[in-house]
Every structure is written in C-alpha cells, then in structure tokens.
C-alpha cells in the first residue's frame, strides 16, 4: 500500500503542539517505570545488594506491559487532536456564478436567456467529476448562495431550477471580487456579457489563476437568433401639473432605442384611481424611433382624478425588442411630495401654498430658526433672512431691509415697472414678465456670481445664483399668496422658481424593484394593482417589492398608490454589453484543496478507547476478586 500520497495529504493546524510528544512520552514511560511492579521490601541489609548494583546487575529495565501500548495509543490520539490533524480533501470545489440580472430575461420565443443558461449549467455540472462540491451563486441584486453552500452534482441540478430573473443590475464585478481568495478549485461565470479581450489573451498564456476562472457566455443564443439583441426601453417618465389650472397632468416619457434599425413603436398610457385601482387605457400613441435614438413623448391633459399611471411600449415587430422587462414604467401622484421648509410667520395655508399638491410644506417660525438642526433640501425664507446662508436650495421672498446676508441696493420703491429681464432663464419660462405688477420692491444689490432676472429702473428686483450645485433665487418683492389663475404671472413665477430649485419636473419618486421598500414597516398592507405578484413582508417588517408596478399601500387606514420601477441602461443595452473582466478574481493558493478536520473523529475514537479501557479495568478487577475469593475458599 502506497502511503506516500496519504502522508502528503495530512497536515496539522497547530504543529508546534507536537513538541509535547517527547515530554508526554517521557512522562508515560516514567509513570510505568515508577508504577511497574517495584515493591518496597525491607531487607536485613543492602550491603551485598549495593555491591550487586555496583557490578551492573539488577538494574531495572523498562519492560512495558501490553497496557502501556494501549495508553500510548490514547496519548497519540490526544496529541494528534491537540495538533489539529486535518486531511486535505480531494473534493473538487466549484463555484458557479449565475448572472440573473434583468438582461437575462431577454427572450427569443418563450425561453429566456436564463432558461438557456440553466441548460448550459446543467451540461457543465454533468461534466464535473463525481467528487465535486458545487456552490451556486446568483449575482443580482447581490451575491447570494442558492440552496446549500456545498452541493453534490444532483443537488446542484435541482438548485438551479430555483434561480429566477431579478429586476436588478448584474453586479458581476462586485460578486467576482467577493469570490476572490476563497477555497474553490474553479469559478465559472454564466452571463450574457462578453469577456474582456485582454482576458482572452491572457488565457492563452495559461496563467493558473485565470485558468481556474472561466467565462461562459451563452453564444448559442446569438447563433440561433442573430437579431436577438435589439431592444427598446422606457428610460423614465415624469408627471407635471399643467399651467395654472392645476387640474390636469402632462406626462412625459423618455424612450431609448437599443436597436440596429428604426422601428415603429406603440406607446400606451394607462391610469388608475385610488378608489378604482385598475389600470385603464388613457391614451395610445405610435412613434417611429431611429436606431440608437432617444425620444420624449408627452401625454397631455391627463385628468387629475387619476393617481397612478403606467406607460408601456410595444414594438410592432416583436423580434426587435427581445427584453420586455424594460418596456413599462410606472408613476403615481402621491409617490413623492417634495418637502420644502417654509420659514415665515405665515402658515403655508395663509400663503396659498397648500394649493401646490406636489409639495409638502413644513413651517418654521423665524424666531425658532436657530433651533433648526437639519437643513432640508429646499427652503423658502419669507420676509426673513438667516444670519448665515444655509446649504440648501433657497428662495428668499421680500427680504427685510435690515439684514446682513442680502443687502439692498437702495430704499424700497412703490409701483415700479420691469425694464429688463432674462430671456432664457428657466425661472422666467412661460412668463409674461412685463405683466408682473410689482407694487413694492426692494432693489437688491447684485452679489458676485449672481445672475439678474428682473430689472427695474431702480435696480435689480430679482436675481438667481448657482454655487456648488445649490441654487438661490432672491425676489425683492412679494409673490405670495399663491393664487393660481387669479394671479397667473406670479403663480407661474412661483412654480418656475420651485421647479428650478428642485431641478426637475415633478418626477415622482418610486421604489426600486427587487428590494425592500424603505420605511415600509409602518405599512399595514401592500399589494400590486398592476399584477398578480404578491408582496412579501420580510422578518424585519419591511415589504419586499419583487418587480415593477403600482402598489396600493394601506397605512393607518389611509390608502395610497406608489410606483415601483427599475431601469438600468447597461442592462437594457443588449447591443453593446459591457465586457466583464476576469482579473478581478484571484483564487488563494490553498484553494485547490479543502481541509477536512479530523479532530472530531479522533476524539470519537479516543472516547471509544477510554470506554474500552474503563470496561477492561472493571472486568479485570472483577476477575481478580473472583480469583481471590476462590483461593481463600480453598
């Protein structure tokens, strides 16, 4: 029997413990020398015995009984346990990293790319040796183990059936980095992304670390359907209140083409109300999108009775839009109300701001300004100016004459006219500036870097500033209360200012698909209105939103609608997928073999021996006593 391979597979976690061996062995021998059968016997004289010993006779020799070897075996087992004996396992450790991002949902007919990848994975698994231990990972939305951490081939074949597409980015680079320096013989990545050219070259160099990491791009899909990579997607949608009537919405949708050809598309707008949360057709449009182009569609005069909207597109030739998951987008009116802090001695209602439904105003009295600990993103200082400029987007309305932050150029004027205004500034968009009836104006001193908006004969009536991504607008005149169509010019001005400060139209916020809705622990109930998909409540109390759609939320007996979306340009761009680099993965030197700690079986064996020893000693004692009794009886 060739023991050399066995010896090379053995190792010790704490080899320095083996230094105890001579000490332990010496102690055992000494114990036996002392224990032995040496009996103290008093003799008349050791005079002759001394001479005997001096002549070299009678020296005790170590002649161990059988029990010595048994105890030596137990001692050896103890030392091996203490030294942490392990055996390097011959298991073939394989990690499979499956890309289950949204792009893997691209379909030719009925089968998705992920379905075909599963077939590829199965073929790969069946090609592995029988001693393989497989760990299956999915990369989206984060690296996760499927089923058990170490599966045999049969278990792995069953486990891959559990993999589903996630509305998430592939997260491949981060996943591969996480797998670095782990004890795997090989890491195989299954994705639709190609490998980098530099990696292909280095594979020819047969570098060991790269050899162990292979990339399986599903080429078979491409060969089956050469046009399979064409795709169209809705990148974003935005909902605006229109003009002054504030009684309808305009919805704009951005559509991207990731196709090689121009295609005709049908874009459908559906809407639902809170009371009747069923999506119904609102409007449909047809567009033609050139290859690689982006276009914006608008749906006008959408009744404000609707609270949730879905925009979906459909290619007239389905084979040019292989990924359907990015063809829909959702938005609701209540998904997001922009918070704005109003620092004023007047309430938002008094200033008419409650009419602006898309904003959530919180008021702070000017006397309590010093108690403000967190500055919100947007602040309106109405007839008050702080000591120091806040780090937020700020609107100053009719600042007081005595303030150090916003100096005035001259004394306030009454009934003045606009002489000049900025023609291109977004704040003045759609505004008939001369129609502004400025009854009382504080001419403002224009600070460095500021852009004048409205000039009057006496100076600057309004200016704007942009500094370090923060925007300020200063109005030397009163614009409140917001009266809507009653005072169109001022109302448009207010809306434009708020829009410019917020740097967006009302792009209502949405929850991200394939994630837990933040702060949803306070919800009582949540369900999709756009699909039959169930929303699962996590142990943390939050709701997990598996896919895009419109959800109906019940919280404190109040219902609302919220949108769930996912869009990633990289995932939708099937034409030009980003190459994935394999150099991120380096396997550790000891990854080739797994250590199988033998301490547990050693301890078990040791306990068995000790038990046998106890039984043997007990039996020996009983036999001795029987023998003694028998001799006495005789």
């Amino acid at each position: 029997m060739n023991l050399l391979p066995l010896l090379t597979e053995i190792g010790f976690l704490y080899p320095y413990m083996l230094w105890l061996t001579p000490v332990a062995l010496g102690a055992l021998v000494y114990a036996y020398l002392r224990r032995g059968r040496a009996k103290r016997i008093v003799v008349s004289s050791t005079f002759i015995l001394q001479n005997l010993k001096r002549s070299g006779f009678g020296k005790s020799r170590f002649s161990p009984p059988l029990r010595f070897f048994f105890e030596l075996l137990i001692l050896t087992l103890l030392l091996l346990c203490a030294a942490g004996l392990f055996r390097l396992s011959a298991n073939n450790r394989v990690a499979l990293l499956i890309d289950n991002s949204i792009s893997m949902d691209q379909r030719a007919e009925t089968l998705s790319l992920l379905d075909l990848v599963k077939v590829d994975v199965k073929n790969y698994l069946e090609s592995l040796p029988s001693n393989s231990l497989i760990t299956i990972f999915t990369s989206a939305p984060a690296l996760k183990i499927v089923d058990e951490p170490a599966l045999r081939i049969g278990g792995a074949l069953r486990a891959i059936e559990k993999i589903t597409v996630q509305y998430a980015h592939d997260n491949l680079e981060q996943s591969m980095e996480a797998l670095s320096n782990q004890s795997y013989n090989s890491v195989v990545v299954f994705t639709d992304r190609p490998g980098k050219e530099s990696d292909k070259d280095s594979q020819n160099n047969l570098e060991e670390s790269l050899q162990k990491v292979s990339l399986h791009s599903n080429v078979s899909i491409r060969t089956q359907t050469p046009n399979l990579r064409d795709n169209f997607a809705i990148a974003r949608i935005a909902l605006n209140t229109v003009g002054l009537e504030n009684d309808s919405y305009t919805l704009t949708a951005t559509v991207n083409s990731y196709s090689r050809t121009s295609q005709k598309l049908k874009v459908l707008l559906q809407g639902a109300t809170l009371n009747n949360p069923i999506l119904e057709k609102v409007e449909e449009k047809s567009i033609e999108l050139r290859a690689g182009d982006t276009t914006q569609l608008s749906f006008d005069r959408i009744p404000q009775s609707m609270h949730g909207f879905k925009v979906s597109l459909e290619s007239l030739d389905r084979k040019f839009d292989v990924l359907a998951a990015d063809n829909s987008y959702y938005i609701t009116t209540e998904s997001k109300r922009e918070p704005i802090l109003l620092v004023s001695q007047f309430t938002p209602e008094a200033l008419g701001l409650d009419k602006l439904k898309n904003f959530a105003f919180t008021r702070l009295e000017p006397t309590k300004l010093s108690s403000l600990t967190t500055i919100p993103d947007t602040v309106i200082f109405h007839r008050v100016v702080p000591e120091a400029p806040p780090s937020s987007n700020t609107l100053y309305v009719f600042p007081p004459s005595e303030n150090r932050l916003i100096p005035l150029a001259s004394k306030p004027v009454e009934k003045t006219a606009v002489t000049l205004w900025s023609p291109t500034h977004p704040v003045l968009q759609y505004l008939n500036v001369p129609s502004l009836n400025l009854t009382q104006v504080y001419p403002l001193a224009l600070p460095a870097g500021a852009e004048p908006l409205i000039n009057i004969p006496e100076g600057i009536a309004a200016y704007s500033q942009e500094h370090q991504s923060k925007r300020n607008v200063v109005l030397g005149f009163e614009v409140f209360p917001f009266e809507g169509k009653e005072n169109r010019a001022l109302s448009i001005l207010i809306l434009n200012i708020l829009k410019w400060l917020k740097n967006s139209a009302l792009e209502a916020g949405y929850f991200l698909a394939s994630s837990a809705a933040p702060h949803s622990g306070s919800w009582d109930e949540a369900s999709y209105i756009s699909t039959e998909e169930k929303i699962v409540r996590l142990p943390s109390g939050e709701f997990y939103l598996p896919m895009p759609g419109i959800i109906k939320i019940t919280s404190s007996s109040k219902n609302s609608l919220a949108a769930v979306n996912f869009f990633d340009g990289d995932e939708s761009n099937l034409l030009n997928p980003r190459p994935v680099g394999l150099s991120a993965v380096t396997l550790s030197a000891d990854s080739a073999q797994e250590r199988r700690n033998l301490v547990a079986p050693l301890i078990f064996t040791l306990l068995v021996f000790l038990l046998l020893d106890m039984l043997f000693m007990n039996l020996r004692g009983r036999l001795s006593s029987i023998k003694l009794r028998t001799s006495n009886e005789i």
Binding site: I41, V43, S44, S45, I48, L49, Q50, F57, G58
Partner: protein, 293 residues
Amino acid sequence: MLPASFTPQFLRQLELFKLHARRSFLGTREGGHLSVKRGHGIVFSDYRKYEYGDNPRHIDWGLYARSDRLYVKRFQEEQDLRVNIIIDASSSMFIPADEHKWRVARDLALTISYVALMSQDSVFLSVPGLYESSICHGGRSIHTLGSDLLKLSSQGLSDFEAHALRMAKKIRFPGLAIVISDFLMPIPSIEKIFGTLRARNLDLTALQVLGPGDILPLENEPHAIAVDSESGQEIELLMNTDTQVQYTHLLNKHTEKLVNYFNSARIAYSLVLAHKATPEHLLSGLSSTGLIQ
C-alpha cells in the same frame, strides 16, 4: 525461664558438654578449667624449691633421691572460665521477622551460657545497646538470662559496630568472647570489633547467623525496591536469574573474606542457618568451632 526449645532432654544433653578454651585463662574461682594460676590441682605444672611451710606431700621424693635437693611439685589450678557472649540485636537480626535470626542467635547464646554455667564457668552476656547481664554463676542463672533475653525485641538498633566496640571496652577479665551476628557489614568493621576484643586478651569465636532472606533476598519479588532495615537506604533491583547468581557469588565472596580473616586472626567461626536451626544443628555448629566439647 527459658525458650520452649530448651526442653529438659536438650538441657540434659547440654550438661554433657563443656566449653573449651584454646588457652588457659586466669579465673576468679575454682572451676573446671586449667588456669594459668599455679597452685593446687591435678595437672602437674613444674617444680620449685622447697620453702619452709610447703606441704611435704608435694615434695617430689624421687627428685630428692636423684638430686639430694628438695623440690615441691606445682600444679595448675582449675579455675572457672569467664565467658563473654555478645549478641547482635541490630535491626538486621530481626528482619525478616519470620526468619527468626534473633531467636536463633538468642538460643545459641543461651546454649553456650548453659553449658558454661553448668561447668562452673561464669557468664557475661551482653546485647550491645540493649542489655548487659551481671557476671552469672551456677546453673540457676540460666533462667535469669533466659527471661532477660526473652524480653528483648528489636528496638530498631543500627550501627552494631559502635555498640559492640563500646561493649568490648567494658570487658576487663580475660576469657572467652563469642560474638553472634549476621556479619553483613564491611570486613573492616568486623576487624575493628574483633581487634578490640582481642586486645582484651580474649579467645574469640564468631558465630554467623544467616536467614533465607540473606542468602536469596527478594526471591518472590523480582522487581523490588530493597530498603535497608538499619540505614533505610533504598536500592531498586530487578532480580532475575543472572542477578541471583551474581548475588550468591558476592555473598560467598564476602563469606570467604570473612573466613579468611577469622582464620588469619585465629578466630573460630561457624555459620548457622536460621531456617535449619534445630537444637542438634546448633550443637553441631558449636561443636564445629571447638567451642564445646
């Protein structure tokens, strides 16, 4: 009181014996041994000139006839013999207890004492470090000696040499000296004891008593730690066959040296084996030394 082995038959047997000294010693009273003292006796010694007052019966008329001078005969007087018996009572004589070395030594001493006392000799018996008798005369004294010896037991005495030397220096009157011991000690120590006794003008006899434990120690314990009964010294030994043979050889060598010394020192010697110490054996041992006849 005498030990049980001193049966009336044995005692009658002993009465037939008489101690024998290899030379004449001055006695203290009339006895059965020729003394160096000249006087009235049976054994003719020599002549001396007649002096006024001499008993005319002692005149040698034949010599007168031949020499025409008056000479009287002188005779050796028969006096008693002082018998000094020294018994070793160190711990080695009591170990092992079942070998009865002390008992044998005691019986030897009492045997010699009885023979001496019945022959009108005087006996002084000592157990150095433990016991000293008075000078005993007459057969009845044996009971006193027997009672005294029976009361003695091992006191864990060690260093027999020192005790024996002290005892030897106390002996004032010449006569016989019999030392009874196992003599398992270095030869120089033995020489010292007997040298001191010899200086007291004593006729020396050595009686060695050995038991089976001295001849073959640790027989049933092949691996043992032997502890000296007197010094407490410990020696760990493995007594296999070779070791036993070597031990016997060393014991014989010691005995040989002992015998050589005694021979050269004109000390009578006899070995008594404790496990064979029947009264007959004792007598034969004593007889072999010429001590009793």
